[in-house]
């Protein structure tokens, strides 16, 4: 594990200065000062987040830290109360899931939204079926599905005509991810993709995450499992009680500092990037 040297302080000083502009320009997605309130409850407090293109960014935090609210804000489920969102350097407004999808943001929720009674091909193309002479073009859809799964190295399914209900948890997760990236997505948000999976299936999903990143697709990964995070992520962002307390390259963190940040919002090893946590908390 890399010893955190002088880098983190530099990173933290960046957030206040003129460097912000350039990080927005180089990031795929940037949030600035995003706040989300549900009545009197502030679920997100002035969150700044940068997601680098083609990289895996892990979003970690304890239950109730605001991870889910944050991704749902990005995905357009509920728009932020205040704050800005930038996509490829341009400010954007995401009001509903359709807006997010149009930008190229795909979200894979924990429930995966698959139809167990349909086969893999049918699930992959659900809502965007191909037609030929007015009827469903099963052959092209099947060929494309096979091609995409092969590209993503999802090789454990026996047949793409298998019912999704008969797949294992890891395979189902893979299908949901494959469906998400099918429509030219730039960013795939995954909510706890390994939560209910065994060891080998977790490895399968994590390798899929790496494959996405190698194909230039950014991944924002919510996870409780720090082992997964440290094995797959390039960047980490830690949330604590609605505040994004620290973020940076994964090399600047280790399990101890991450756990400290998750549980207390601060770490002796990694200076908290947000000075305002203390000011406004």
């Amino acid at each position: 594990m890399t010893e955190p040297t002088s880098e983190p302080p530099v990173a933290s000083s960046e957030t206040g200065g003129s460097e912000v502009g350039s990080s927005i320009a180089t990031s795929l997605l940037s949030l600035r000062n995003v706040t989300k309130s549900f009545g009197a409850v502030e679920a997100l407090r002035r969150v700044d987040l940068d997601v680098a293109p083609g990289k895996v960014t892990a979003l970690v935090g304890d239950n109730g830290a605001g991870k889910s609210v944050l991704i749902q804000t990005i995905a357009g489920i509920f728009p932020p109360t205040s704050g800005e969102m930038y996509w490829r350097g341009e400010q954007v407004h995401v009001h509903n899931p359709r807006n997010a999808a149009d930008l190229g943001i795909a979200t894979v929720y924990q429930d995966l939204a698959l139809c167990n009674n349909l086969d893999i091909v049918q699930n992959m193309y659900l809502g965007s079926e191909l037609k030929r002479h007015g009827v469903l073009d099963e052959i092209t859809m099947e060929l494309e599905t096979k091609r995409l799964l092969a590209e993503l190295s999802v090789t454990t399914v026996q047949s793409v005509r298998q019912l999704v209900g008969s797949l294992s948890g890891g395979q189902r997760q893979s299908i949901a991810v494959a469906r998400a990236v099918m429509h030219e997505s730039q960013l795939v948000i995954m909510d706890e993709p390994t939560a209910a999976l065994g060891v080998s299936q977790t490895a399968q999903v994590l390798s899929l995450v790496r494959t996405l990143s190698e194909r230039g697709i950014a991944v924002l990964l919510i996870s409780h499992n720090l082992n997964d995070v440290f094995s797959v992520a390039d960047y980490i962002a830690v949330m604590h009680l609605g505040v994004l307390v620290s973020s940076g390259p994964i090399a600047n963190y280790d399990t101890t500092s991450a756990v400290e940040l998750i549980t207390t919002g601060a770490s002796a090893k990694v200076p908290s990037m947000l000075v305002r946590t203390g000011q406004e908390g």
């Binding site: 899931p97 359709r98 999808a101 429930d111 939204a113 698959l114 139809c115 167990n116 009674n117 349909l118 049918q122 659900l126 809502g127 965007s128 079926e129 037609k131 009827v135 469903l136 052959i139 099947e142 060929l143 096979k146 799964l149 092969a150 999802v154 090789t155 454990t156 399914v157 026996q158 047949s159 793409v160 005509r161 298998q162 019912l163 209900g165 008969s166 797949l167 294992s168 948890g169 890891g170 189902r172 065994g198 080998s200 299936q201």
Partner: protein, 423 residues
């Protein structure tokens, strides 16, 4: 789960690499079928075997059973169950139910019958479509109540069960024809009572067999040409041979003279009507987005909504299709009985659900095919017909039908649980 060990190896042959054709041969085919069976897709084989067992049993007990005239009669008896079962399947696929379908059909039958009788004397080509239009509008109404007002379809159609029953009795009793309206229009009578000529029967059956065989071969050819896994050629061949055999048997049965004093030959019109609705329903369910979404909604409507599909639109289409099919069923029902009385069998709706479920359609939504109504309807008709030949009492018939239904639902439920455990 031994997932990794067990699945990585076949993946190499199926997903990547030069795509093989007809992998695994017969053994692979059997394994795929077993897997489908365990995952809840029971297929048609068990139920067809059940049908054959019933047929053999009744034939052994009474040799009249397999006579040409009885089999023709059977096909007419089965028609009402088949058509109502098809009407019901549209909603069952969504996980909804229609308890009123029997009386909606009867209402359509009454309207068609009254409007074409000596009193009103409307032209059949206006009256009969109008009857179907009315039942279709009832489907629209049910759809609005269930989708817009979010009422449970069970309750909406339970109310419909009472309302349309009342409407049918009211209409029948106000014709002054003594508690029944007789069919007095030849076209309406001929829907069930009329027959194709023997030559037309030949042509029709051959055309059907040729069409099915053509689509079967073309589909496997196209898959093979694109390097996709298909059923082995000999399996297609076996199916086609079976199809031809069944077709020839049908021709022999329907074209035999079944009357002693006059010549009565040919396929009853009811059969092509059944087949036309079967073909249309199967086409929509298997080949169009509408069908795809109806299955998907029955499986996980939230997933369909998130895929950006208007769930309500497709639910609505299914309600309309149910009303439409019920109307056609009603006309054939009236045709077969020679009219509609004010004492219609109240179990008609239940038999429509039974036909669908016995055939293999799930009550839980998302699983089923139009052909299930055909097989289920035939089974119910075989039980009725066979037990009548054996002079068994109606109570026995009820009990036996009930047991068959229970067996079918048990298979459905167990298969479904098997599918979930596999996940």
């Amino acid at each position: 789960m031994t997932d990794v060990n067990e699945k990585v190896e076949p993946a190499a042959t199926h997903v990547d690499g030069p795509t093989p054709v007809a992998t695994g041969g017969l053994g692979g085919q059997i394994r795929v079928q077993l897997k489908r069976l365990r995952s809840g897709d029971t297929g048609l084989v068990p139920i067809t075997v059940g049908l054959l067992v019933l047929i053999v049993y009744f034939q052994v007990r009474n040799s009249v059973f397999l006579s040409a005239s009885n089999l023709t009669n059977l096909s007419i008896q089965a028609t009402i169950y088949i058509l109502l079962g098809m009407a019901e399947i549209w909603l069952l696929l969504l996980g909804e139910i229609d308890l009123s379908v029997g009386y909606v059909a009867a209402l359509g039958g009454v309207i068609g019958t009254i409007l074409t009788d000596y009193q009103f004397h409307w032209a059949w080509y206006i009256a009969l479509p109008l009857a179907v239009l009315v039942t279709t509008l009832i489907g629209v109404l049910n759809g609005i109540l269930v989708i817009r007002l979010r009422l449970p379809s069970f309750i909406v159609t339970l109310a419909g069960f009472l309302i349309w029953q009342g409407a049918v009795i009211y209409l029948v009793d106000h014709q002054g024809t003594g508690g029944a309206v007789p069919v007095q229009e030849k076209v309406l009578y001929d829907l069930v009572g009329g027959n194709l000529t023997p030559v037309a029967t030949w042509l029709f059956v051959l055309l059907c067999v040729a069409a099915v065989a053509y689509f079967m071969v073309r589909s496997t050819q196209r898959r093979r040409a694109n390097g996709l896994v298909t059923v082995p050629f000999f399996l297609t061949l076996v199916k086609i041979v079976l199809l031809v055999v069944v077709g020839i048997l049908l021709i022999v049965v329907f074209n035999a003279n079944r009357s002693t004093f006059v010549t009565l030959r040919g396929m009853p019109f009811a059969v092509p009507i059944d087949l036309a609705l079967l073909a249309a329903g199967t086409f929509v369910l298997a080949k169009t987005r509408t069908g795809r979404y109806i299955y998907a909604i029955g499986g996980n409507s939230e997933a369909v909504r998130r895929a950006g599909v208007s769930v309500n639109r497709y639910r609505f289409i299914a309600f309309v299709a149910t009303g439409f099919t019920a109307g056609i069923a009603g006309l054939l029902y009236s045709s077969r009985l020679g009219g509609i009385s004010d004492s219609i069998d109240p179990t008609l709706t239940l038999y429509s659900i039974a036909a669908a479920v016995i055939g293999g359609t799930s009550l839980f939504g998302g699983r089923g095919k139009m052909v299930h109504a055909v097989i289920g309807g035939l089974i119910i008709a075989v039980i009725y017909n066979g037990m009548a030949l054996l002079s068994m009492s109606p109570p026995t018939v009820y009990i036996v039908t009930g047991i068959v239904l229970l067996a079918a639902v048990t298979i459905d439920s167990v298969a479904r649980r098997g599918g979930e455990q596999l996940r």
